[in-house]
Amino acid sequence: MSGTKFTEDHEWISVDGDVGTVGISDYAQEQLGDVVFVELPEVGRQLEKGGEAAVVESVKAASEIYAPASGEVTEINDSLEDAPATVNQSPFGDGWFFKIKLSDPDELDALMDEAAYKSFVEGLE
């Protein structure tokens, strides 16, 4: 998970070149409980950092997922449509949500690294 950055809303973004892959953290999936549906953004959509990007529905409730950085959606994880529980099983792996072409990679500097996020989560418990 080195190079992965986290938001205070529990999204993660892992950057390869100028493309970032976005998902939700293990803590987030644990808090949400069983995921039954994920609404992903359309490919080509422009996301603003902090703007609404996706929606996760658990048995109990719907939760919004925000873009950790600005950019254009280049790919979405279609497999979540038939297997939303992948988000619970593999939040940092096969349970990724979408990829964006970063419009301002410097935005990532404000996010937490893994160690900082870990202590942030510990502070919540």
Binding site: V36, F37, E39, E57, A61, A62
Partner: protein, 371 residues
Amino acid sequence: MQEQSDTPLKRTPLYDQHVACGAKMVPFAGYEMPVQYPLGIMAEHRHTRAQAGLFDVSHMGQVRVTGADPARAIESLVPGDIQALAPGRMRYTLFTNETGGILDDLIVTRRADDLFVVVNADCKEQDFAHMQAGMAGDATVEMLDDRALLALQGPAAAAVLARHAPDSGSLVFMSAAAMPVAGIDCFVTRSGYTGEDGFEISVPADRAADLFGVLTGEAEVEPIGLGARDSLRLEAGLCLYGHDIDTTTTPVEAGLSWAINKRRREEGGFPGADVILKQLADGPSRRRVGIRPEGRAPAREGADIVDKDGAVVGKVTSGGFGPTVEGPIAMGYVPVALAAPGTPVGLVVRGRTLTAEVVKTPFVAQRYAKG
């Protein structure tokens, strides 16, 4: 469920057990309640349908009504035929108001010397005052604060309970008896809120932890939280007060006319009888229906229901994902012209209209032990 942040949350006698089981505790109806255990809502739901689940419903109001003729007295507040109940039999009924709306739904059990009434947690103070005022001079109302309530639900519930209460096997659906369970004096009803066979067990508060330990010690039994309780009752097509029914809905609109018994239809004599009996005769203008959206996206409470032209015709009152149905399910009110099963409707979720269809409830067949 609105919470008053300035009042400290209450705890049921099983709070320590929930925490020890690893429950996630949330505020509900003024109590700290387990919304789920480590198993998770989906697995808890499925476990209850496959084996047996144990629910702490001690937040609900347990009330004893005594007097010369408590069955007659309570009929001034509800449209159910309570006088027709033989001792040991029980009935679902409603507190109605003068405009035919619903103040709460409740279960009344007739016992030899009194009525045993279970009301919703959110309404219990109000219901208690309503009963006291409405039956003043005819009956005495006593809140049984010294009792806890456990629900054991699922196809294995009867076998599990029989090990600790052999007499429980003689109860059929909607009947009740006092009996020892694991040596503890309890009042047991064969009823529940999951659509499955099962029991609700009223137990002295100071013995609740012992009973919880005995029952969760059985291999078939898992503790189940409020999250699965909600998805189970929704699949079973059962109303949740404050959501599917309230003071703005009548029993007829809610599809609960079966709870207004024949003699009461003829005699009236309950709050809002003029409105309700007229609706029974003429038919309501809208009805509560089951709705199944296509695809996997759930439509939640508050979502607009639209007709084929996109005009808003009603609102979803309960909606979510049904783990046994393996898809989204909802209930809501629509004009009678759109209430027939098979009618296409749309549900508006985040600005988009999901294709959906009116369906019969329950979504999952009820499996009561009717005897």
